[in-house]
Amino acid sequence: MKHLILTLILLTFSYSQTYTFLVKKYDKEIELESKIIAKIAESSIKKEIVIFIPEMTDMEKNIYSKIFTIGKNCEESNFIFVKKNIEKNICQNKNKLYFTNNYKKLLSNKEYFGAFFWSKSRPNIVFIKNRLAQHNISLPSSYEQFVEDL
């Protein structure tokens, strides 16, 4: 019962629509992004997820570390989320899942199996069907709305 009350209080606070002063840098967007990436990673990898985001900012590090184990580098991670323009071959070991925030990058680079990006002022998620198969990823069937043929 105590846990339930505590959870409800936390939920109330987390969904609060108001604030007094934003003294610290506003981080709600990154927080939600990390939750979305967590959903995607959990659906794609059945073991413990170790995430690596190249050139991660301090704010991203703080927020992502609340729900992920953060890898020090690409080699020791199994889920790579590329948000910035970096060299293509950041890992020697190819047996990893690559995700991006750039749709053009997803289309041109077969290493990426999906992307979380904006289009027409709305956030979108796209998984490429044959790349999911290549990595033996079986997403929940309700994710089909996000899967595209290429």
Binding site: T18, E29, W118, K120, R122, Q145
Partner: protein
Amino acid sequence: MKSIIFLAVLLLNFLHANSLTTLLKEYEETSNSSLQTVDEKLGHVIVYSQKELKLMQHHKLSDVLKEIPLLNLNRNKFGSTSPSLAGTKTTVSGFFRLFINDHEVSSIYMQSFDNTWGELPLDFIDHIEFYYGESSFSLGNETGIYFIRVYTKSAVKENSTQINSSISNNNSYSQSVTHSEIFENGWSYLLFLNQNELNYENNYKNQELKDDMTSRYLYLDLNNDTTNINFGYADIKKDNYMGLSRDIVPDSGEINTQNYFLDVSKNFLADKSLKIGASYNIHKREYKEKNNQIWAIPKLEFGPTLGTTIPKEIEENMKFVKTAGYISKEFTQGNNKFLGAVHVKNKTKKLIHRKSVNVLNQETINGEFNNFNQETIYSLAVEDDYRINDQLLLLANAKFDKYDRDAYLDDSNEEMYRVGTIFTPFKNFGLKSFYTKTYLPPSFYNVDFASFRNKDIKTQQYKFFTTEAVITTEKSKFGIVYHNVKIDDFIYFTPIGFENIAHRIKTRGLMFDYEYNFDNGNKLDLNYFITRSSEFMTNSNNGGFIKFMGSYSKLEYFTSLIYRNKYDYKPSSSNNISVDASFNLNLGITYNYSKDFSISLKGENLLDDSTESLFADGSTNTNFSMRDFDRTITLAAKWVF
């Protein structure tokens, strides 16, 4: 058993997708709340988020400024949208500063709004922040008291082409295209093109006063993770409304302005704590007027020959150039966060052509009114915010400015200081206070139009204390802001030109704001402000608004009532003007035919009860008031692809 497992898998799948879809929705709403750039240290802030701009159908910057508390939005004698402080009609040079992204677009001539930006279309604007407080400490720019920061939409988030079109009952129309694209290498751009035709007319003593305006805007924002390149262009052609005509109604007149700017900034180091920026801005202004008597103050020789020096035709073509560069660095040591910035800005005024014809039909090619043509400002700004604990933040700022001016006005050294606290003892209660000592230097415009009695215009000195208390609940927010301002050497526009007021001016005021967010996403916002001044009123000094906005299914709707109180100008004099209160009622509805296409209908000033501005008729030595805007119905469409 199999069916139970099947149902469980189905339920699990549904929850997976549902939560991801819900998260995406929440992510979009969070982004549209536009809080990413808010800097509480700059002052007391009002945010117009993307969501609010869309729901309220704010098509132009002036639509937003009409609502902003503690100021009045008037139409000045040149027909330009002109914000002025509650209680006064005087447009103070340098008081309001307007930025698009990092670039200040305030007029180089007047240090304030000119006719270019008040009607800025908002189709490419993501959100607007309005700061009550001296922000030049942190921004390293020229001084000001109220700062309006307009942020363009992010190309990364738009990633589309958007066409906006609107038409109003007074035959005004606006068309714009916004295109944005992201490249694989991380660069992205947003390009905005717009053309407007704004029609407005008034009449004085049964004579028509024209204020039609044709404007074109182009904006390009090119950026990647560390570099921002902004290019802006605005071209305005408009009637001069009353202009400088002594009898208020010119025979003819027009104002043409062109603005171009390029602003480049780059962040360095892994934490982006080092920032270097440079900008180049050209402003061209052409003015023409014909009338039997034009009260062009710099041309007048007050004395027995005054009558023969009054022009009946003037032409003027001027060019202003502003070049600026800055470097700023943030660093943290323990609980201290320091910011240091060095800023250099050079402004020049060049007369290209000036001609006048006097009442005796004598044509004169005029030179400069004075030799104040150039100013270079060197600024050093330092800020320290010291976090005593999670609840209490102390803030200290200092800024030192050196003004190098070519002749006429003396070179000067100025200093500004500010101390402040942000105290949030509880999650739902906060206090914020600032005490600021700052100044506003005279502009090129002040000096050109200085009174013949004393052409040595002095810098205005400001000391002000502001404090804000905020209480929140899960869905509501209540805030009070108090200000107390003391001004020495206030620059005031008298009938014979600008003069420093010899005595100290005092103003104080209170603003209350209450907002409530309903479960279904609808929002109610109530605001009321009162101000008091040591001077006689030349504008509404109290006001407020009530706004309601929201959406249901494919419909979005809003209503707002903006109030400004009645006031008497010089009530004890025979020249008394009594101006009625203004109740500006607005209503609007948007139908989203699909996610990509919508049609909107908006009614503004439906009670036809506009605010009014005071003017003086020099030909009869009388004062009068005149409405600032019309009742307008606007039909708009938006298509995204």
